[in-house]
């Protein structure tokens, strides 16, 4: 789960990270009022779940409340990487002497959270990583011991020669690490971490992503989800416990398991079709899940044929068959459906489908080809 910059900053402030004051506005007037309260130059920052906000024009300096109002007017409602901006963060501007990068990410290779720091912070840190990797220090952390004080100092001295600044930075590393662990993070980033002209070390921007698997045990973090910042169909799918990504094609896919779902989409493309979505109903499927999946797929008017590809392991194919029967009884389909189903309880599933007037195949290639043909015919009609 992604959270907004202002939410990440609230979390980090709670752990003691020094961050300039700021508040969220949803209208230009609110932005002006916040700027007036802060009583100094402010930065107006688009709050969307995407990187590259600055380059897209979503981050602007304003020297007065009037200017903040105009900046907010321009930014609110703009689109950044397909996402509409509904909120801006209005935050006190800082006089920057230097910019560093500090990040933690869960790393597959070392199987640990890895700290990454660089004195060459700012927006082009990926280029720094690619071209001058020696300017980045990476340090895997054993979570059983946590970030040890000497490790925090080593990271801090990589950024700052000045002892006072290094100590301040080491403190921030500890606070960032605690926030990452206690929020169930998969990513936590301060970019830039700046030294101000007054010599203070402060965090000017923050990003955090949360491991979805943590949310059940962290209700306060789960409550940070901003559904208005997500695609409606993806919100609907998540509420139904499905993984769904909308695409532009016309073959609606309903598959169990992410790998098979991707392979099914690849095969649709292989046979000349275009998938309308990625949809994984997951394991332990219940009939209700299938009903919800069909509702989401059929709400896309581009869909000209529906393809079920179910290979039962932990998923019982009879659950899926019952779901298809229930869903289509409630809402009869207006587009053709092709069902491929095999694995756990296959015989029962096939009987349920046949008794209810559906035909099903056990062959994936055959089913995909048929769905592509039907979708193409549906498009022509």
């Amino acid at each position: 789960m992604n959270i907004h910059e202002y939410q990440a900053k609230d979390i980090l402030r709670g752990f003691g990270v020094p961050i300039p004051p700021g508040e969220v506005a949803t209208t230009p007037e609110e932005a002006a009022a916040i700027a007036a309260r802060l009583g100094a130059a402010v930065v107006v920052k688009a709050q969307v779940h995407a990187g590259g906000r600055g380059k897209a024009g979503g981050v602007k300096l304003a020297k007065s409340p009037d200017e903040a109002r105009e900046r907010a007017r321009a930014i609110l409602g703009m689109t950044i990487k397909g996402l509409t901006v509904g909120k801006v963060l209005v935050t006190a501007a800082a006089d920057i002497a230097s910019e560093a990068y500090v990040g933690i990410i869960l790393d597959r290779a070392s199987k640990k959270p890895v700290f990454m720091v660089s004195a060459a912070g700012g927006i082009d840190i990926e280029d720094v990583a690619a071209q001058t990797p020696e300017k980045i220090l990476k340090l895997p952390i054993d979570t059983r011991y946590g970030l040890l004080p000497f490790q925090a100092m080593r990271l801090a001295f990589f950024l700052y020669a000045d002892l006072k600044q290094a100590r301040a930075a080491a403190g921030i590393m500890q606070q960032l690490y605690s926030a990452f662990m206690q929020s169930g993070g998969s990513l936590a980033e301060i970019n830039p971490l700046v030294v101000t002209t007054a010599g203070e070390v402060v965090a000017l921007d923050a990003k955090m992503a949360i491991d979805d698997n943590e949310l059940d045990r962290r209700p306060a973090i789960a409550a940070l989800r901003d559904e208005s910042a997500e695609a409606p169909s993806e919100v609907q799918a998540r509420e139904a416990n499905l993984t769904f990504i909308k695409l532009d094609g016309n073959v609606g896919c309903c598959v169990n398991g992410a790998g098979l779902a991707m392979a099914t989409m690849d095969l649709v493309k292989y046979y000349g079709g275009e998938p309308a979505n990625f949809l994984d109903i997951g394991g332990s499927s219940s009939p209700e899940k299938v009903v919800n999946a069909l509702r989401i797929i059929t709400s896309d008017s581009n869909v000209k044929a529906i393809l079920f590809n179910i290979f039962g392991g932990i998923t019982r194919t009879d659950d899926v068959a019952n779901g298809i029967v229930t869903a289509t009884r409630e809402n009869p389909l207006t587009v053709p459906i092709v069902i491929r189903l095999t694995g756990t309880n296959e015989e029962i599933a096939m009987r349920i489908l046949q008794e209810n007037g559906f035909s099903a195949s056990a062959d994936m290639d055959e089913a995909v080809q048929r769905a592509v043909t039907l979708a193409t015919r549906g498009n022509a009609a």
Partner: protein
């Protein structure tokens, strides 16, 4: 021959009385897996299906039955503890089926298991099957048949698909291993490739990967340097849309985005035959069997 599990595998099922645990314990028993014990705290002393004794702890189960392998079906927030309990009880192979285990939990579990000399497969995986001998996990037994092909996959259901296609074509398997798709898992492609290379019964190996991470690229390097047996590979997600990435750390850590194209190229450069569709495994494997 086989890798990791065989006729001598003695299984303890953690979470044997739950919905998924009981269903799949029955399926394993029907397949002929030697299930010697079950564990559900508070249900010690009961008997599952009139034949499997249930214990309160894994330690009790191991000391009473000499179980050497555990399979875990407990809910996600309890999985880390269950894995560590099995490792602590001296179980040598731990297969965690549970989906949705917090990744930060795994950062503690992985070194814990390793330091006790145990092998963890998963989490979020379908487990293993050595056709005709033992099944530990949820891979449907009827789609497998004994034979000369070793198979390792990050996916669950896509594994079934490929095994099913092979079996339908009369090509059997030594062992099929689903290592799971989570960011941190116990057993890697390389662990399985090493074992298959050393297993005299395995003549050809199938590797099923997907987008994300760099495990497939590392597997490709290993195949090129260390394997004599032919390998056939597949990468799922060629049509997957690029995700909206947050932050910079992902690109810094991997230096690449883990696309299907990159992985396919790595496979090809390592001399791995790449299947375009799951069904293409049949022809490519057949050409490479002695």
């Amino acid at each position: 021959m086989s890798i990791f599990i065989d006729r001598g595998t003695r299984v303890v099922v953690q979470g044997i009385t739950g919905r998924d645990g009981s269903f799949h314990a029955k399926q394993m028993l029907e397949y002929g897996t030697c299930i010697v014990a079950g564990v559900t705290p508070g249900k010690g002393g009961q008997t599952f299906e009139n034949q499997v004794p249930v214990f309160n702890t894994v330690a009790d189960a191991v000391s009473a039955t000499n179980a050497n392998t555990s399979v875990i079906y407990v809910p996600p927030l309890f999985a880390a503890d269950a894995i560590m309990e099995a490792a602590d009880a001296g179980v040598g192979l731990i297969v965690a089926i549970t989906e949705g285990v917090p990744v930060l939990d795994m950062t503690k579990v992985y070194p814990y298991v390793r330091e006790r000399g145990a092998r963890l497969v998963g989490p979020n995986c379908p487990g293993l099957i050595t056709p005709g001998e033992s099944k530990v996990g949820i891979i449907p037994g009827r789609i497998c048949t004994p034979g000369p092909v070793g198979l390792v996959s990050r996916s669950g259901t896509l594994t079934y698909e490929v095994v099913y296609q092979l079996t339908r074509a009369g090509i059997g398997q030594t062992t099929c291993v689903g290592i799971g798709g989570d960011p941190i898992n116990g057993t890697s492609f390389i662990d399985c490739l090493t074992a298959f290379e050393a297993d005299p019964a395995t003549k050809t190996v199938c590797v099923i990967g997907e987008i994300g991470g760099t495990d497939e690229q590392e597997a490709a390097t290993f195949v090129k340097r260390h394997m004599k047996k032919p390998v056939v590979g597949f990468i799922a997600g060629q049509t997957a849309p690029p995700g909206r990435r947050m932050g910079h750390a992902g690109a810094i850590i991997s230096g690449s985005s883990g696309t299907a194209a990159e992985k396919i190229e790595a496979f090809q450069q390592a001399g791995i035959a790449v299947a375009k569709r799951p069904v293409d495994f049949v022809q490519l494997v057949r050409e490479r069997l002695p």
